[in-house]
Symmetry: C2
Subunit: 457 residues, 2 copies
């Protein structure tokens, strides 16, 4: 008799053909002209869930991109898992430095390259294929499962909270499960027990009421590009510490245990140099490199623009300059308070020669999940089975608003079982997902679903 | 008998229909996709010169956009005027804030609105129409005239110098004449006797070898947007003085006469507020507002960009950030020395956590023309005739590389007879040219050509 995992190995080529179909839909949630593609990806995912034997699968509208909901509830009396993932992806264009077309996935060297391979379509597929493998070989599934796939994870999950709130009956369950994170290194299974929150904001600096001729007005008008640069420069001190008063007031102090645990994370300066390619490590000198990665808040200008950015030159003083900023928050920090601290800082650093405005875009607090929850222990055993070793518990640098919402609105523990690797190039050109991780992920998921009913008695 | 100026008034509608045709060709020299439009404008101008009775008109190739050369040499023994203008224009798009389509000129309120109306197609037309008006009414012209129209003024006149050098015989003449500048106020004729030079450069700051996920690497990687902001912020001190060591070493000290002359320029703080719309005057506190406008060197970041600048957000640390910069130079400053001073400054302000590079794009020194040259006195008389008062002599903030080249390579005095007004929105949305200025300009030009032979004996 074929075991579920044997089925998964035998069907890997079929799984990858299906995944490739899913990846070819450019479901870029940030770009309005891809709106129809986002819906197409949702429809594809819903149809695929039905084809696997789920008993219900729907594309459900929100005020933004739709949510996919699917379920199989054929195990009465057994626990119900709410699996969350997202089918939207980050923007990607060949000219950004991709070696292959971002939406024409290519398999090379036991890896699949393309936008969404690791973040998050490939990881969603781990669970869909675990479900398929168990169903095809045993005719049933050990737990009830509800699949919630979001189309706005990459743009802040703005419409997910009202969706979860208004569907709390539908989404009732015992354990939340998410595969949208990574392992610290190959061979080192990792459970993320803390996630940073996020505040997104934009700073606008305006000066003259329209672009001015730099020959006629230069030297008398404060250039918004210069003024914005002074503001951005003031956000950190010369050593790399955040210099915004009040920003870090509520930052949770790490316990001795956490300091020790972080110090054991197998991340070295050499790895940093290889992964980033940057000339030297930067950042708050009061914390170690490992602590700065995940355990500390950050302010990053993701986009900066003002004036003429086309070919050639245009001798102007621009009317406006913009900084697009996201801040990563650690648990205890309040997004609104952080935003207000920055707003005060910008106002204090705006000279009378220009105007500035700080616009709030979105905010989610950070989160810590209790590592001692029984469902966490099921995950530990599942990893032990597939990887041959117990997972390490870590704080993650990224933010998954949905995890916070699931915990808040549904009141259930959420397990972050991620199979990405540090060099997967998330949000960057040449995103990839290791097929070894894909196979191990399916094996871990099969085991997790198998073991869960025993622990949840 | 109709006088030349009466002819000009009677034919204003015809002149404006012709000018509109010329303005509708989007001859944007900075944008490669408008290359054919630039040539089309050159061909239109050459054909128009022939239609006015010029005896030769050609589109002549350079390594960049072509030059238009036209001539009428029917006055042997009389002086030869080399008239310079440009038929290329600055970029313009409706979305930049234009109230009308930039390349569909509209006449309203005795003004013509559209890209190129004042800078410089409309001003070139003043001289073509002065020529036509004299020819049509008298059958001849009082001086020989050679017309040189450039297609690269807005991108630094890179190929004009070799063209002028290799055509010094063709371009031989007695007086250079340019209408590509402005008057200080309506009713106040102005001759520009000094022009600032220009250095164009770009600063690139690079960090990681590709865009990184800000959740995974934020706090450990120096963000190129932040590092570039620190560099840009360091270019000026908090009061608005240029803080680049060596930048202003060779700046020519203004004479007491010049200080006095500048203090009489009818430019007030109130005018500054109306024209700029900016909240407060900025700049080097060691000089007056009037002195900063034209008599002092400047550094302006015309364009600033790094990272994600599209819709929504992308949580990245960008690999690269760019500042596009032009500096205005006063006479005596050497473009190469100025560039090197900035290069040293940027290197000194680049921390080990990023790389930086400063790229030289082009450079032209500034220039002073002698106000006592006899041809200058002809211009004074011409203005006296048309405006009823003598012109004021002023230093201009802008840069016209061709003027420098004409003086250098052809060794002739160059008269800058400009008819623009301060609110013409050069290089900005809603560029316009006053039709009153157009009429007075034609009258002044007719008179200048008529008087010139008497003074040049």
């Amino acid at each position: 008799m074929t075991t579920p995992f044997e089925y998964a190995l035998e069907n890997q080529d079929k799984f990858l053909r299906e995944l490739t179909e899913f990846l070819r839909i450019p479901s870029i949630s940030a770009q309005p002209h891809h709106k129809e593609d986002v819906r197409k990806a949702a429809e594809w995912a819903a149809a695929h869930c039905l084809s696997l034997g789920m008993t219900r699968a729907e594309v459900m509208d929100t005020d933004g991109h739709p949510v996919v909901y699917a379920e199989w509830l054929g195990a009465p009396g057994k626990p119900t898992v709410i699996f969350y993932g997202h089918y939207d992806v980050q923007p990607a264009e060949l000219k950004d430095g991709w070696h292959t077309e971002p939406f024409h996935p290519v398999i090379m060297d036991d890896k699949i390259f393309g936008r969404g391979t690791a973040d998050d379509k490939g990881q969603v597929f781990i669970h869909l294929k675990a479900f398929e493998s168990v169903m095809k070989t045993t005719g049933t599934f050990p737990v009830n499962i509800k699949i919630l796939l979001e189309g706005e994870e990459e743009v802040g999950s703005i419409h997910l909270r009202p969706f979860i709130k208004s569907h709390s009956e539908l989404l009732k369950g015992d354990v939340g499960l998410v595969s949208d994170s990574g392992m610290l290194a190959p061979g080192l299974p990792t459970i993320v027990y803390g996630l940073r929150g996020l505040v997104e904001l934009e700073i606008y600096v305006t000066g003259p009421h329209h672009d001015l001729h730099s020959g006629a007005y230069g030297g008398t008008v404060d250039n918004p590009n210069h003024a914005l640069s002074r503001i951005v420069a003031s956000l950190h001190d010369a050593q790399g510490r955040i210099a915004v008063s009040g920003f870090a007031d509520d930052v949770r102090v790490l316990s001795a245990d956490e300091h020790a645990s972080i110090s054991h994370v197998p991340f070295t300066e050499e790895m940093w140099y290889v992964e980033t390619g940057a000339p030297a490590i930067w950042g708050d000198p009061d914390f170690t490199l490992k602590e700065r990665t995940g355990a500390r808040p950050t302010i990053e200008v993701n986009g900066l623009f003002g004036g003429y950015t086309g070919d050639g030159s245009k001798t102007i003083i621009p009317a406006k300059a913009t900084a697009k900023i996201t801040c990563r928050l650690v648990p205890n920090q309040n997004p609104q308070k952080v935003f207000e601290a920055i707003q005060r800082h910008v106002a204090a650093h705006t000279p009378p020669t220009v105007h500035s405005e700080v616009s709030f875009k979105r905010g989610e607090p950070g989160l810590v999940v209790d590592p001692n929850d029984p469902a966490m222990q099921v995950a530990v055993e599942a990893y032990q089975h597939s990887f041959g070793k117990a997972p390490i518990f870590t704080l993650e640098g990224g933010s998954i608003p949905a995890v916070m919402m699931m915990r808040e609105s549904l009141g259930i523990p959420v397990i972050l079982m991620g199979f990405g690797l540090p060099d997967d190039n998330l949000h960057a050109p040449n995103e990839k997902f290791s097929l070894e991780q894909f196979r191990l992920g399916i094996q871990t998921a099969i085991e997790f679903y198998r073991l869960l009913p025993e622990h949840q008695k």
